[in-house]
Protein backbone atom coordinates (compact mmCIF):
# COMPACT_ATOMS: atom_id res chain seq x y z
CA UNK A 1 0.00 0.00 0.00
CA UNK A 2 2.92 2.33 0.76
CA UNK A 3 4.08 2.38 -2.88
CA UNK A 4 0.53 3.11 -4.04
CA UNK A 5 0.31 5.96 -1.54
CA UNK A 6 3.28 7.64 -3.24
CA UNK A 7 1.67 7.32 -6.65
CA UNK A 8 -1.69 8.44 -5.21
CA UNK A 9 -0.08 11.59 -3.80
CA UNK A 10 1.58 12.27 -7.16
CA UNK A 11 -1.75 11.78 -8.94
CA UNK A 12 -0.45 9.06 -11.21
CA UNK A 13 -2.68 6.14 -10.17
CA UNK A 14 -5.33 4.66 -12.45
CA UNK A 15 -9.00 5.03 -11.62
CA UNK A 16 -9.54 1.54 -10.19
CA UNK A 17 -6.44 1.69 -7.99
CA UNK A 18 -7.34 5.19 -6.90
CA UNK A 19 -10.75 4.00 -5.70
CA UNK A 20 -9.17 1.10 -3.84
CA UNK A 21 -6.69 3.38 -2.07
CA UNK A 22 -9.40 5.81 -1.08
CA UNK A 23 -11.46 2.97 0.33
CA UNK A 24 -8.46 1.85 2.40
CA UNK A 25 -7.67 5.37 3.58
CA UNK A 26 -11.17 5.78 4.97
CA UNK A 27 -10.45 3.08 7.56
CA UNK A 28 -6.66 3.48 8.19
CA UNK A 29 -5.36 6.42 10.20
CA UNK A 30 -1.69 5.44 9.72
CA UNK A 31 -1.96 5.53 5.96
CA UNK A 32 -3.75 8.87 6.11
CA UNK A 33 -0.79 10.24 8.11
CA UNK A 34 1.66 8.80 5.57
CA UNK A 35 -0.35 10.28 2.73
CA UNK A 36 -0.17 13.70 4.38
CA UNK A 37 3.64 13.43 4.39
CA UNK A 38 3.80 12.33 0.75
CA UNK A 39 1.45 15.14 -0.22
CA UNK A 40 3.81 17.67 1.40
CA UNK A 41 6.71 16.24 -0.55
CA UNK A 42 4.76 16.33 -3.81
CA UNK A 43 3.86 19.96 -3.18
CA UNK A 44 7.48 20.88 -2.46
CA UNK A 45 8.64 19.14 -5.63
CA UNK A 46 6.07 21.03 -7.62
CA UNK A 47 7.53 24.40 -6.57
CA UNK A 48 11.15 23.48 -7.52
CA UNK A 49 12.65 25.10 -10.59
CA UNK A 50 12.20 23.19 -13.79
CA UNK A 51 15.29 21.41 -15.11
CA UNK A 52 17.14 23.10 -17.97
CA UNK A 53 15.61 22.37 -21.31
CA UNK A 54 16.99 22.11 -24.81
CA UNK A 55 17.74 25.86 -24.84
CA UNK A 56 20.67 25.33 -22.54
CA UNK A 57 22.20 22.68 -24.83
CA UNK A 58 21.59 24.80 -27.92
CA UNK A 59 23.21 27.82 -26.28
CA UNK A 60 26.31 25.83 -25.25
CA UNK A 61 26.74 24.40 -28.74
CA UNK A 62 26.31 27.82 -30.33
CA UNK A 63 28.84 29.39 -28.00
CA UNK A 64 31.43 26.70 -28.69
CA UNK A 65 30.93 27.15 -32.44
CA UNK A 66 31.31 30.93 -32.41
CA UNK A 67 34.00 31.46 -29.81
CA UNK A 68 37.60 30.67 -30.85
CA UNK A 69 39.18 27.79 -28.91
CA UNK A 70 41.73 28.61 -26.27
CA UNK A 71 45.28 28.40 -27.65
CA UNK A 72 47.23 25.20 -26.82
CA UNK A 73 49.40 25.82 -23.82
CA UNK A 74 53.02 25.55 -24.88
CA UNK A 75 55.48 23.98 -22.54
CA UNK A 76 57.60 26.61 -20.86
CA UNK A 77 61.15 26.98 -22.06
CA UNK A 78 62.52 25.47 -18.89
CA UNK A 79 60.42 22.30 -19.18
CA UNK A 80 63.32 20.22 -20.57
CA UNK A 81 65.62 21.33 -17.81
CA UNK A 82 62.95 20.62 -15.19
CA UNK A 83 62.39 17.16 -16.65
CA UNK A 84 66.11 16.39 -16.60
CA UNK A 85 66.41 17.55 -13.00
CA UNK A 86 63.34 15.55 -11.97
CA UNK A 87 64.60 12.41 -13.67
CA UNK A 88 68.07 12.85 -12.21
CA UNK A 89 66.53 12.58 -8.75
CA UNK A 90 65.03 9.19 -9.67
CA UNK A 91 68.32 7.56 -10.72
CA UNK A 92 69.54 5.46 -7.81
CA UNK A 93 72.69 6.75 -6.19
CA UNK A 94 73.93 3.18 -5.65
CA UNK A 95 73.99 2.61 -9.42
CA UNK A 96 76.06 5.77 -9.97
CA UNK A 97 78.53 4.88 -7.20
CA UNK A 98 78.88 1.29 -8.41
CA UNK A 99 79.50 2.49 -11.98
CA UNK A 100 82.23 4.86 -10.80
CA UNK A 101 83.91 2.17 -8.67
CA UNK A 102 83.93 -0.43 -11.45
CA UNK A 103 85.28 2.14 -13.91
CA UNK A 104 88.00 3.09 -11.41
CA UNK A 105 89.01 -0.56 -11.16
CA UNK A 106 89.11 -0.64 -14.96
CA UNK A 107 91.49 2.33 -14.97
CA UNK A 108 93.76 0.54 -12.49
CA UNK A 109 93.83 -2.58 -14.67
CA UNK A 110 94.39 -0.58 -17.86
CA UNK A 111 97.24 1.38 -16.27
CA UNK A 112 99.12 -1.77 -15.28
CA UNK A 113 102.16 -2.81 -17.34
CA UNK A 114 100.89 -3.66 -20.81
CA UNK A 115 100.90 -7.33 -21.78
CA UNK A 116 100.75 -6.34 -25.47
CA UNK A 117 100.12 -3.32 -27.72
CA UNK A 118 96.61 -1.97 -27.29
CA UNK A 119 96.24 -3.50 -23.82
CA UNK A 120 94.75 -0.41 -22.18
CA UNK A 121 92.19 0.04 -24.95
CA UNK A 122 91.15 -3.60 -24.71
CA UNK A 123 90.66 -3.35 -20.95
CA UNK A 124 88.55 -0.20 -21.22
CA UNK A 125 86.59 -1.83 -24.07
CA UNK A 126 85.70 -4.65 -21.67
CA UNK A 127 84.82 -2.47 -18.68
CA UNK A 128 83.00 0.59 -20.11
CA UNK A 129 80.28 -1.26 -22.12
CA UNK A 130 79.21 -3.53 -19.27
CA UNK A 131 79.09 -0.59 -16.85
CA UNK A 132 76.81 1.36 -19.21
CA UNK A 133 74.63 -1.65 -20.07
CA UNK A 134 74.13 -2.52 -16.40
CA UNK A 135 73.27 1.11 -15.64
CA UNK A 136 70.73 1.26 -18.48
CA UNK A 137 69.19 -2.03 -17.31
CA UNK A 138 68.44 -0.49 -13.93
CA UNK A 139 66.48 2.60 -14.92
CA UNK A 140 63.18 1.37 -16.34
CA UNK A 141 60.27 -0.82 -15.32
CA UNK A 142 57.94 -1.24 -12.36
CA UNK A 143 60.50 -3.26 -10.38
CA UNK A 144 63.48 -0.95 -10.85
CA UNK A 145 61.87 2.48 -10.97
CA UNK A 146 60.46 3.59 -7.60
CA UNK A 147 58.29 6.23 -9.30
CA UNK A 148 57.09 4.05 -12.17
CA UNK A 149 53.38 4.23 -11.39
CA UNK A 150 53.43 7.97 -10.69
CA UNK A 151 55.38 8.71 -13.86
CA UNK A 152 53.05 6.52 -15.92
CA UNK A 153 50.09 8.61 -14.70
CA UNK A 154 51.56 11.94 -15.82
CA UNK A 155 50.61 13.50 -19.16
CA UNK A 156 54.26 13.56 -20.25
CA UNK A 157 55.00 10.95 -22.90
CA UNK A 158 56.60 7.75 -21.52
CA UNK A 159 58.97 7.84 -24.49
CA UNK A 160 60.21 11.30 -23.52
CA UNK A 161 60.67 10.22 -19.93
CA UNK A 162 62.55 7.06 -20.91
CA UNK A 163 64.72 8.94 -23.40
CA UNK A 164 65.57 11.57 -20.79
CA UNK A 165 66.53 9.03 -18.17
CA UNK A 166 68.57 6.91 -20.57
CA UNK A 167 70.35 10.04 -21.79
CA UNK A 168 71.18 10.92 -18.19
CA UNK A 169 72.57 7.49 -17.29
CA UNK A 170 74.41 7.06 -20.58
CA UNK A 171 75.87 10.57 -20.36
CA UNK A 172 77.11 9.83 -16.85
CA UNK A 173 78.78 6.61 -17.98
CA UNK A 174 80.14 8.39 -21.05
CA UNK A 175 81.75 11.04 -18.84
CA UNK A 176 83.19 8.30 -16.62
CA UNK A 177 84.65 6.45 -19.60
CA UNK A 178 86.05 9.66 -21.10
CA UNK A 179 87.66 10.51 -17.78
CA UNK A 180 89.04 6.97 -17.55
CA UNK A 181 90.55 7.30 -21.04
CA UNK A 182 92.05 10.64 -20.10
CA UNK A 183 93.63 9.23 -16.94
CA UNK A 184 95.00 6.16 -18.75
CA UNK A 185 96.48 8.35 -21.49
CA UNK A 186 97.85 10.82 -18.95
CA UNK A 187 99.79 8.16 -17.06
CA UNK A 188 101.24 6.97 -20.35
CA UNK A 189 99.69 3.52 -20.24
CA UNK A 190 98.75 3.67 -23.91
CA UNK A 191 100.98 5.48 -26.40
CA UNK A 192 98.33 5.48 -29.15
CA UNK A 193 96.53 8.46 -27.59
CA UNK A 194 93.14 9.34 -26.19
CA UNK A 195 91.34 9.13 -29.53
CA UNK A 196 92.33 5.49 -30.05
CA UNK A 197 91.35 4.68 -26.48
CA UNK A 198 87.91 6.23 -26.95
CA UNK A 199 87.43 4.41 -30.24
CA UNK A 200 88.10 1.13 -28.43
CA UNK A 201 85.08 1.39 -26.14
CA UNK A 202 82.62 3.87 -27.68
CA UNK A 203 81.02 1.58 -30.28
CA UNK A 204 80.62 -1.46 -28.01
CA UNK A 205 79.35 0.75 -25.19
CA UNK A 206 76.64 2.24 -27.42
CA UNK A 207 75.68 -1.13 -28.90
CA UNK A 208 75.49 -3.10 -25.66
CA UNK A 209 73.60 -0.27 -23.93
CA UNK A 210 71.09 -0.03 -26.78
CA UNK A 211 70.56 -3.79 -26.78
CA UNK A 212 70.12 -3.71 -23.02
CA UNK A 213 67.57 -0.90 -23.39
CA UNK A 214 65.47 -2.82 -25.90
CA UNK A 215 65.43 -5.86 -23.64
CA UNK A 216 64.57 -3.74 -20.59
CA UNK A 217 61.56 -2.22 -22.32
CA UNK A 218 60.52 -5.43 -24.03
CA UNK A 219 60.98 -8.16 -21.41
CA UNK A 220 62.40 -6.61 -18.23
CA UNK A 221 65.55 -5.52 -16.45
CA UNK A 222 66.60 -8.94 -15.14
CA UNK A 223 66.70 -10.53 -18.58
CA UNK A 224 68.48 -7.50 -20.04
CA UNK A 225 71.18 -7.77 -17.39
CA UNK A 226 71.57 -11.52 -17.91
CA UNK A 227 71.93 -11.19 -21.68
CA UNK A 228 74.38 -8.28 -21.35
CA UNK A 229 76.55 -10.27 -18.93
CA UNK A 230 76.63 -13.32 -21.21
CA UNK A 231 77.54 -11.24 -24.30
CA UNK A 232 80.21 -9.45 -22.31
CA UNK A 233 81.64 -12.75 -21.04
CA UNK A 234 81.73 -14.06 -24.61
CA UNK A 235 83.76 -11.03 -25.65
CA UNK A 236 86.18 -11.62 -22.78
CA UNK A 237 86.53 -15.28 -23.71
CA UNK A 238 86.93 -14.36 -27.38
CA UNK A 239 90.32 -12.98 -26.39
CA UNK A 240 91.78 -16.46 -26.81
CA UNK A 241 90.32 -18.53 -23.99
CA UNK A 242 87.68 -20.24 -26.10
CA UNK A 243 88.74 -22.04 -29.25
CA UNK A 244 87.00 -20.58 -32.27
CA UNK A 245 87.75 -22.50 -35.43
CA UNK A 246 84.24 -21.89 -36.82
CA UNK A 247 84.50 -18.11 -36.63
CA UNK A 248 81.52 -17.48 -34.28
CA UNK A 249 83.60 -15.27 -32.02
CA UNK A 250 84.76 -13.24 -35.05
CA UNK A 251 81.21 -11.88 -35.14
CA UNK A 252 81.42 -10.98 -31.46
CA UNK A 253 84.78 -9.27 -31.98
CA UNK A 254 83.47 -7.37 -35.02
CA UNK A 255 80.44 -6.16 -33.06
CA UNK A 256 82.74 -5.11 -30.22
CA UNK A 257 84.39 -2.28 -32.13
CA UNK A 258 83.62 1.27 -33.15
CA UNK A 259 82.46 1.43 -36.76
CA UNK A 260 79.52 2.64 -38.80
CA UNK A 261 77.66 -0.66 -38.48
CA UNK A 262 77.77 -0.73 -34.69
CA UNK A 263 76.72 2.92 -34.42
CA UNK A 264 73.82 2.45 -36.85
CA UNK A 265 72.73 -0.75 -35.13
CA UNK A 266 72.79 1.01 -31.77
CA UNK A 267 70.69 3.87 -33.20
CA UNK A 268 68.23 1.37 -34.67
CA UNK A 269 67.91 -0.47 -31.36
CA UNK A 270 67.34 2.85 -29.59
CA UNK A 271 64.51 3.64 -32.03
CA UNK A 272 62.96 0.20 -31.44
CA UNK A 273 63.12 0.77 -27.68
CA UNK A 274 61.37 4.14 -28.04
CA UNK A 275 58.60 2.58 -30.12
CA UNK A 276 58.14 -0.24 -27.62
CA UNK A 277 58.15 2.18 -24.68
CA UNK A 278 55.07 4.02 -25.95
CA UNK A 279 52.95 0.96 -26.59
CA UNK A 280 50.16 -0.19 -24.30
CA UNK A 281 49.22 0.64 -20.76
CA UNK A 282 52.36 0.15 -18.70
CA UNK A 283 50.51 -1.02 -15.62
CA UNK A 284 48.12 -3.30 -17.45
CA UNK A 285 50.69 -5.07 -19.52
CA UNK A 286 51.12 -8.79 -19.29
CA UNK A 287 52.56 -9.98 -15.96
CA UNK A 288 52.55 -6.52 -14.46
CA UNK A 289 51.50 -7.98 -11.14
CA UNK A 290 53.06 -11.43 -11.42
CA UNK A 291 56.80 -11.63 -11.56
CA UNK A 292 57.03 -14.77 -13.69
Amino acid sequence: MNEQLVEYAAGSLGQADRARVEEHLAGCADCRADLAGWALLAEAAGTAAAPPGPDLVRGALLRSALVEPEPVTRRPAWFSLSLVLAEARLVRVSVLVASALVMALGVVMAAMPAAYDGWAGDVLALVAPVVAAAGVAGVHGPRRDPAFEVVAATPTSPRLILLTRIALVFAYDLVLALAASGVVAAVGADPSGVRELIAAWLGPMALLSALSLVLVVWVGADIALGVAVVLWALRVLAGGVLVDVGGVLDVVRAAWSTNLATVLTAAGLLAVAMILAGRGEPLRRSRATHLL
Partner: protein, 233 residues
Protein backbone atom coordinates in the same frame (compact mmCIF):
# COMPACT_ATOMS: atom_id res chain seq x y z
CA UNK B 1 53.27 -22.96 3.55
CA UNK B 2 53.98 -26.50 2.33
CA UNK B 3 57.54 -27.14 1.07
CA UNK B 4 56.75 -27.54 -2.62
CA UNK B 5 54.68 -24.35 -3.06
CA UNK B 6 57.24 -22.52 -0.91
CA UNK B 7 60.14 -23.52 -3.14
CA UNK B 8 58.09 -22.84 -6.27
CA UNK B 9 57.45 -19.37 -4.91
CA UNK B 10 61.17 -18.85 -4.23
CA UNK B 11 61.99 -19.91 -7.79
CA UNK B 12 59.66 -17.19 -9.02
CA UNK B 13 61.15 -14.60 -6.68
CA UNK B 14 64.78 -15.45 -7.48
CA UNK B 15 64.35 -13.43 -10.68
CA UNK B 16 65.17 -13.90 -14.32
CA UNK B 17 68.81 -12.87 -13.89
CA UNK B 18 69.38 -15.93 -11.71
CA UNK B 19 67.27 -18.23 -13.87
CA UNK B 20 68.17 -17.16 -17.41
CA UNK B 21 71.91 -16.51 -17.12
CA UNK B 22 73.09 -20.09 -16.33
CA UNK B 23 71.47 -21.73 -19.40
CA UNK B 24 72.70 -18.87 -21.61
CA UNK B 25 76.21 -19.12 -20.15
CA UNK B 26 76.26 -22.84 -20.92
CA UNK B 27 74.57 -22.56 -24.31
CA UNK B 28 76.91 -19.93 -25.79
CA UNK B 29 80.18 -21.94 -25.49
CA UNK B 30 78.26 -25.07 -26.54
CA UNK B 31 77.14 -23.31 -29.72
CA UNK B 32 80.72 -22.33 -30.47
CA UNK B 33 81.84 -25.92 -29.79
CA UNK B 34 79.26 -27.31 -32.20
CA UNK B 35 80.26 -24.83 -34.92
CA UNK B 36 83.89 -25.72 -34.26
CA UNK B 37 83.03 -29.39 -34.67
CA UNK B 38 81.62 -28.63 -38.12
CA UNK B 39 84.77 -26.69 -38.96
CA UNK B 40 87.03 -29.66 -38.26
CA UNK B 41 88.44 -28.50 -34.93
CA UNK B 42 90.32 -31.13 -32.95
CA UNK B 43 88.59 -33.06 -30.16
CA UNK B 44 90.80 -31.37 -27.58
CA UNK B 45 89.85 -27.91 -28.85
CA UNK B 46 86.15 -28.72 -28.74
CA UNK B 47 86.48 -30.25 -25.26
CA UNK B 48 88.23 -27.06 -24.11
CA UNK B 49 85.09 -25.08 -24.92
CA UNK B 50 82.90 -27.60 -23.07
CA UNK B 51 85.10 -27.32 -19.99
CA UNK B 52 85.19 -23.53 -20.45
CA UNK B 53 81.40 -23.48 -20.19
CA UNK B 54 81.64 -25.48 -16.96
CA UNK B 55 84.50 -23.65 -15.27
CA UNK B 56 83.94 -20.10 -16.54
CA UNK B 57 80.33 -19.74 -17.71
CA UNK B 58 78.46 -21.46 -14.87
CA UNK B 59 80.35 -19.73 -12.01
CA UNK B 60 79.92 -16.27 -13.56
CA UNK B 61 76.19 -16.87 -14.04
CA UNK B 62 75.79 -18.12 -10.47
CA UNK B 63 77.80 -15.18 -9.12
CA UNK B 64 75.80 -12.54 -10.98
CA UNK B 65 72.54 -14.28 -10.03
CA UNK B 66 73.50 -14.45 -6.35
CA UNK B 67 74.59 -10.80 -6.40
CA UNK B 68 71.14 -9.81 -7.66
CA UNK B 69 69.24 -11.36 -4.74
CA UNK B 70 69.64 -8.63 -2.12
CA UNK B 71 68.16 -5.16 -2.42
CA UNK B 72 65.74 -5.60 -5.29
CA UNK B 73 62.81 -7.40 -3.67
CA UNK B 74 59.69 -5.20 -3.74
CA UNK B 75 58.20 -7.33 -0.96
CA UNK B 76 61.19 -7.01 1.40
CA UNK B 77 59.35 -4.81 3.89
CA UNK B 78 56.39 -7.17 3.91
CA UNK B 79 58.67 -10.17 4.48
CA UNK B 80 60.32 -8.40 7.39
CA UNK B 81 56.96 -8.30 9.16
CA UNK B 82 56.53 -12.08 9.00
CA UNK B 83 57.65 -14.33 11.88
CA UNK B 84 60.12 -16.14 9.61
CA UNK B 85 63.44 -14.33 9.29
CA UNK B 86 64.30 -12.61 6.04
CA UNK B 87 67.71 -14.31 6.17
CA UNK B 88 66.03 -17.69 5.67
CA UNK B 89 64.18 -16.33 2.64
CA UNK B 90 67.39 -15.02 1.07
CA UNK B 91 69.23 -18.27 1.78
CA UNK B 92 66.47 -20.24 0.04
CA UNK B 93 66.82 -17.96 -2.99
CA UNK B 94 70.58 -18.44 -2.95
CA UNK B 95 69.98 -22.20 -2.88
CA UNK B 96 67.65 -21.85 -5.87
CA UNK B 97 70.21 -19.76 -7.77
CA UNK B 98 73.17 -22.05 -7.09
CA UNK B 99 71.03 -25.16 -7.49
CA UNK B 100 69.78 -24.07 -10.90
CA UNK B 101 73.33 -23.27 -12.09
CA UNK B 102 74.48 -26.63 -10.67
CA UNK B 103 71.70 -28.43 -12.52
CA UNK B 104 72.88 -26.89 -15.79
CA UNK B 105 76.45 -27.94 -15.00
CA UNK B 106 75.46 -31.49 -14.03
CA UNK B 107 73.43 -31.90 -17.21
CA UNK B 108 76.36 -30.74 -19.34
CA UNK B 109 78.92 -32.76 -17.40
CA UNK B 110 76.72 -35.86 -17.47
CA UNK B 111 76.27 -35.54 -21.20
CA UNK B 112 80.02 -35.12 -21.64
CA UNK B 113 80.74 -38.21 -19.56
CA UNK B 114 78.12 -40.25 -21.39
CA UNK B 115 79.34 -39.22 -24.84
CA UNK B 116 83.03 -39.55 -24.07
CA UNK B 117 83.86 -35.84 -24.39
CA UNK B 118 84.84 -35.68 -20.71
CA UNK B 119 87.83 -37.96 -21.30
CA UNK B 120 89.10 -35.91 -24.25
CA UNK B 121 90.38 -33.12 -22.01
CA UNK B 122 93.69 -34.22 -20.44
CA UNK B 123 93.15 -32.62 -17.01
CA UNK B 124 89.61 -33.94 -16.45
CA UNK B 125 90.34 -35.51 -13.00
CA UNK B 126 87.79 -38.24 -13.56
CA UNK B 127 84.01 -38.02 -13.75
CA UNK B 128 83.47 -37.88 -9.98
CA UNK B 129 86.24 -35.71 -8.49
CA UNK B 130 86.21 -33.77 -11.75
CA UNK B 131 82.87 -32.23 -10.78
CA UNK B 132 84.93 -29.88 -8.62
CA UNK B 133 85.88 -28.22 -11.93
CA UNK B 134 82.61 -26.30 -11.84
CA UNK B 135 81.48 -26.78 -8.25
CA UNK B 136 84.38 -25.01 -6.51
CA UNK B 137 84.41 -21.78 -8.59
CA UNK B 138 80.59 -21.74 -8.65
CA UNK B 139 80.39 -21.83 -4.86
CA UNK B 140 83.20 -19.30 -4.60
CA UNK B 141 81.70 -16.69 -6.93
CA UNK B 142 78.10 -17.26 -5.78
CA UNK B 143 78.92 -16.73 -2.10
CA UNK B 144 81.14 -13.77 -3.01
CA UNK B 145 78.22 -12.20 -4.91
CA UNK B 146 75.84 -12.95 -2.04
CA UNK B 147 78.21 -11.46 0.52
CA UNK B 148 78.78 -8.40 -1.67
CA UNK B 149 75.01 -7.98 -2.04
CA UNK B 150 74.60 -8.08 1.74
CA UNK B 151 77.50 -5.69 2.29
CA UNK B 152 76.66 -3.18 -0.46
CA UNK B 153 72.88 -3.57 0.02
CA UNK B 154 72.20 -3.76 -3.69
CA UNK B 155 72.81 -5.73 -6.87
CA UNK B 156 74.63 -3.01 -8.85
CA UNK B 157 77.85 -2.88 -6.84
CA UNK B 158 77.70 -6.58 -5.96
CA UNK B 159 77.33 -7.65 -9.60
CA UNK B 160 80.13 -5.26 -10.56
CA UNK B 161 82.44 -6.81 -7.97
CA UNK B 162 81.72 -10.35 -9.20
CA UNK B 163 82.27 -9.32 -12.83
CA UNK B 164 85.52 -7.52 -12.02
CA UNK B 165 86.81 -10.48 -9.98
CA UNK B 166 86.04 -12.83 -12.88
CA UNK B 167 87.59 -10.41 -15.39
CA UNK B 168 90.77 -9.91 -13.34
CA UNK B 169 91.30 -13.66 -13.16
CA UNK B 170 90.79 -13.89 -16.92
CA UNK B 171 93.12 -11.13 -18.07
CA UNK B 172 95.76 -11.55 -15.35
CA UNK B 173 95.80 -15.35 -15.52
CA UNK B 174 99.57 -15.62 -15.63
CA UNK B 175 100.15 -13.03 -12.91
CA UNK B 176 97.65 -14.71 -10.57
CA UNK B 177 99.43 -18.04 -10.97
CA UNK B 178 102.87 -16.66 -10.14
CA UNK B 179 102.24 -16.54 -6.38
CA UNK B 180 101.35 -19.59 -4.31
CA UNK B 181 98.51 -17.96 -2.38
CA UNK B 182 96.86 -16.43 -5.46
CA UNK B 183 97.28 -19.71 -7.32
CA UNK B 184 95.16 -21.38 -4.65
CA UNK B 185 92.39 -18.84 -5.24
CA UNK B 186 92.51 -19.05 -9.04
CA UNK B 187 89.08 -19.84 -10.45
CA UNK B 188 90.11 -21.38 -13.76
CA UNK B 189 92.82 -23.82 -12.73
CA UNK B 190 91.46 -26.60 -14.96
CA UNK B 191 91.02 -24.89 -18.31
CA UNK B 192 93.75 -22.25 -18.06
CA UNK B 193 96.27 -24.42 -16.26
CA UNK B 194 97.97 -24.40 -12.90
CA UNK B 195 100.73 -26.33 -11.21
CA UNK B 196 99.26 -29.86 -11.49
CA UNK B 197 99.97 -30.72 -7.86
CA UNK B 198 98.03 -27.62 -6.76
CA UNK B 199 94.73 -28.50 -8.43
CA UNK B 200 93.10 -30.34 -5.52
CA UNK B 201 94.36 -27.77 -3.01
CA UNK B 202 93.05 -25.02 -5.29
CA UNK B 203 89.57 -26.56 -5.39
CA UNK B 204 89.47 -27.13 -1.63
CA UNK B 205 90.66 -23.57 -1.02
CA UNK B 206 87.89 -22.18 -3.22
CA UNK B 207 85.27 -24.19 -1.32
CA UNK B 208 86.78 -23.05 2.00
CA UNK B 209 86.70 -19.46 0.74
CA UNK B 210 83.03 -19.96 -0.10
CA UNK B 211 82.42 -21.12 3.48
CA UNK B 212 84.20 -18.03 4.81
CA UNK B 213 82.16 -15.73 2.54
CA UNK B 214 78.95 -17.40 3.72
CA UNK B 215 80.03 -17.11 7.37
CA UNK B 216 80.69 -13.38 6.97
CA UNK B 217 77.41 -12.88 5.11
CA UNK B 218 75.44 -14.64 7.88
CA UNK B 219 75.60 -11.84 10.52
CA UNK B 220 75.20 -9.15 7.84
CA UNK B 221 71.98 -10.77 6.67
CA UNK B 222 70.77 -10.96 10.26
CA UNK B 223 70.69 -7.14 10.45
CA UNK B 224 67.69 -7.03 8.20
CA UNK B 225 67.16 -3.28 8.34
CA UNK B 226 70.39 -2.93 6.36
CA UNK B 227 68.86 -4.92 3.50
CA UNK B 228 66.08 -2.46 2.83
CA UNK B 229 66.88 -0.27 -0.18
CA UNK B 230 67.41 3.44 0.43
CA UNK B 231 67.38 3.08 4.24
CA UNK B 232 70.25 4.55 6.19
CA UNK B 233 71.16 3.31 9.62
Amino acid sequence: MRPLPLWRHEVQRAGWTALLTPPLAVAAPLLIAFVDAGASASDREIAQNFFGALEMGVPLAAGIGAASLVGRDPAAELLLTTPEGYRAVLLRRLAVTVGWAALMAVLLAGTMVATGWWARWPANHGPLVGQLIWLAPTLGLATLGFLAGAAFRGPAAAGGLVAICWLVQQIFAETVQEQGWSRLLYLFATTRGTVPADWTANRITLIAAAAVFAAVAWPLLGRTERLLPEVTE
